[in-house]
């Protein structure tokens, strides 16, 4: 049996069909009258001891003028603590951690087994200042800092009470949905500050980017959490969040919600090769439903030094540094160890980074609290891995081949049942699609009475 192809599906690819105007983590509030709509966001959390670097990527595809972001942050950030990063690095991390398809080819049962070298294909990547401050002060809002970084105009606000902050945000063109005030108030009382960003159109056109780059912030705080409550207010339906944690010790999990491994290492029918993003989306939706939308899913937990099979190369030390992994030495790196081999190892030698990919679909009813995390010492590896097994198509006749063909039908039926259970797709549809690979499958045995009148 040999493994030939690995297909990953990144979070971005899987969600590519989602409607535009996405917002980040629910922290985004649209400016002006654009319909508020939050759907997917990607967050990278690089954390060691109490030092955290947070990278936020959004799928915002609307008019940059409409873009606005409000994030509660634990401290006032200096200019040097904020950075605009490169989207490609996050996309690489996303691809590296993506659930993956692996293919195996059955061997000729009439011949003794021979081990073949492994090959893999690259993953499928988805690609008037004084007045303003006086007014702010009268509302109890303090503009702690004001920066233009990259294409963003950024303010760090602190506030005395939520009504003042809400008024300030409204007066400054942020459309705040009803119900936000109470949540802002709870963050104010916890002494949190507010990171508020808009796109500076002049800077954006100077820089020439057609998309919004990820905003990064570095801070030191014992709080290991993500504030998701603001986002649940303006969301039209549940939101999608991917959290990629980079930590030195081991796997990261939520402490106030259950963290559950996504079903993995299951054999599914061959036609999924052409429908993997759809499979991933529907399987995830089904698992969310099964768990009553009350859990956080673990999709990947791995030592960053290698992968097997690889949906994408491990990140280089330089890329890790860009994502905020400050405890990795900067050193000259070559390209990833070349060749379509699996496993692959990280270039630049061993790094002390464990990556955890969490995926959560949430709304206010099922996730009333912000997500709180802890880093565990668990270095057990886990990946979302789905297996395609190509049948042997030889025509030789031997006793083993006969047994193989009998087993093949049973296996095909198991695959159909597995797929139906994972995705809640119709089993009849699945069997119909499987005919191309297996011919007619036996399916359900005919009932005794079906023989009587041709039923």
């Amino acid at each position: 049996m040999k493994r030939l192809l690995i297909l990953g599906t990144s979070a971005l690819a899987a969600l590519a069909c989602a409607p535009a105007v996405l917002a980040f983590c629910g922290f985004y509030v649209a400016k002006a009258d654009t319909k508020l709509f939050n759907q997917a966001s990607l967050v990278v959390l690089a954390r060691n001891a109490d030092k955290t670097v947070l990278t936020m990527v959004n799928d915002f595809r609307g008019d940059p003028k409409e873009f606005a972001l409000v994030v509660p942050v634990p401290t006032v950030l200096e200019k040097g603590q904020i950075h605009v990063g490169e989207r490609a690095v996050v996309e690489h991390l996303d691809a590296y951690t993506a659930p993956r398809l692996v293919e195996y080819f059955d061997e000729d049962p009439c011949r003794p087994r021979m081990l073949s070298p492994l090959r893999s294909a690259p993953g499928m990547m988805a690609g008037a200042k004084g007045d303003a401050e006086a007014r702010a002060k009268s509302l109890g809002v303090t503009i702690e800092a004001r920066y233009t970084i990259g294409e963003y105009d950024i303010l760090i606000l602190s506030a005395g009470e939520s009504a003042g902050l809400e008024t300030w945000l409204r007066e400054n063109g942020y459309r705040i949905p009803a119900g936000t005030s109470a949540i802002l108030g709870s963050y104010i009382k916890q002494n949190m500050k507010f990171f508020v960003a808009k796109v500076n159109l002049q800077e954006q056109s100077k820089l020439g980017f057609t998309y919004l780059r990820p905003i990064q912030m570095a801070y030191e705080s014992p709080k290991f959490m993500l504030p998701i409550r603001l986002g649940t207010v303006n969301a039209a339906g549940p939101q999608e969040l991917f959290v990629y944690a980079l930590t030195p010790r081991g796997r990261v999990e939520t402490t106030n919600y259950r963290t559950v491994r996504l079903p993995s290492d299951v054999e599914i029918p061959l036609f999924i090769r052409g429908e993997f993003p759809r499979f991933y989306r529907d399987m995830f939706a089904q698992q969310v439903k099964k768990e009553d939308m009350r859990v956080v899913f673990l999709e990947y937990a791995w030592d960053m030094n290698w992968c097997d099979p690889c949906a994408a190369d491990p990140l280089t030390p330089d890329e890790l540094l860009q994502l905020g992994v400050f405890w990795v030495d900067q050193r000259p790196t070559g390209p990833a160890i070349p060749g379509p081999r699996s496993p692959r190892f990280a270039p630049g030698g061993a790094v002390d980074v464990f990556v955890t990919r969490l995926h959560v679909r949430y709304d206010a009813a099922h996730f009333p609290e912000d997500l709180v995390f802890q880093e565990t010492a668990d270095r057990a590896i886990f990946q979302g891995r789905y297996i395609l097994r190509h049948p042997w198509k030889g025509t030789e006749v031997c006793e083993a081949a006969k047994r193989y063909r009998e087993e093949l039908y049973r296996r095909a039926d198991r695959e159909a049942q597995t797929l139906a259970a994972l995705t809640s797709w119709s089993i009849d549809e699945i069997r119909k699609k499987m005919r191309a690979d297996y011919g007619d499958l036996p399916g359900q045995p005919r009932k005794w009475w079906q023989r009587l009148w041709g039923g």
């Binding site: 939520s162 109470a182 108030g185 709870s186 009382k189 916890q190 705080s221 014992p222 709080k223 290991f224 959490m225 010790r249 081991g250 999990e253 939520t254 402490t255 106030n256 919600y257 259950r258 963290t259 559950v260 491994r261 009553d292 009350r294 859990v295 206010a364 009813a365 009333p368 609290e369 709180v372 802890q374 565990t376 010492a377 668990d378 270095r379 057990a380």
Partner: protein
Amino acid sequence: MRGAETGPGRSQPLTEQDPRLYQIAVLAALLLYGMAWLDFDVGPERTMAILGTALATQYVCGRIWGLAAFDPRSALISGLSLCLLCRTNEPLLAVATATAAIASKFALRWRRKHVFNPTNFGLVVMMLVTGQVWVSPGQWGSAATFGFLMASAGCLVVTRARRADVTLVFLGTWAALLFGRSMWLREPVAVPIHRLESGALILFAFFMISDPKTTPDSRVGRMLFAGLVAAGAYVVQFVLFRTNGFLWSLAVASLLVPVIDWLLPGRRYRWPSAVAPTETGLGAHPDRERARFPSALERSSA
């Protein structure tokens, strides 16, 4: 359990049986449920290793400290609790945790009473010392909390209502702190309710802090103790922003128990099944009670 209630010639009614049997049943059921439905990161081998180590340590320490009889019940409770809570990649560390837990009962004593709840001690020490042991408070989810609560509450009603004070005061204080915090922050009521719907909280409240062998002897002392543990857990979780506040807080508060017992003396708890038929007619003086009613450990060595 009052000695007078289990006097000579009286058979114990079911409701006055050793509460540990009910606890063992509930913990074992929880473990099976967790392994089968909640994907707890503990397999049959690990379970066997922890339980086997706990029992073996109880036996060996019992021999070393000269106990006459081997009583597996407390060790089983500690072992089952560790299976539910202790997580590590290293099987040897799980074994070491179980050993430390049970051995602490024998080694760390103050005035004929062990200082720490064994499970609590094992977990806290191994988390501190090795950095390779962790507890996953989120593993329970909130789906089965109600059933768990009922089973645990049953534990109180059926077997040891007399010592329910610790659990009830702890839960009451904790709930008051959570609701108070959320009212102060103007958070919706769903937030504190979600925090209370925690299997980790229920396990702690009904099976760990309530351990009658490590809580203060007097009722007032126990209530004070329960309040302190709740307040400490709040500080760990909402001021220091660290996880497993209950465990850290209980470990620290346990060190205060000798002081509380000194300030507020009371009658020492004894497992009901350990009450010998002749040991009835208790006097009110705690010291005299202690003389008559040494702990189960001491009695069985007698």
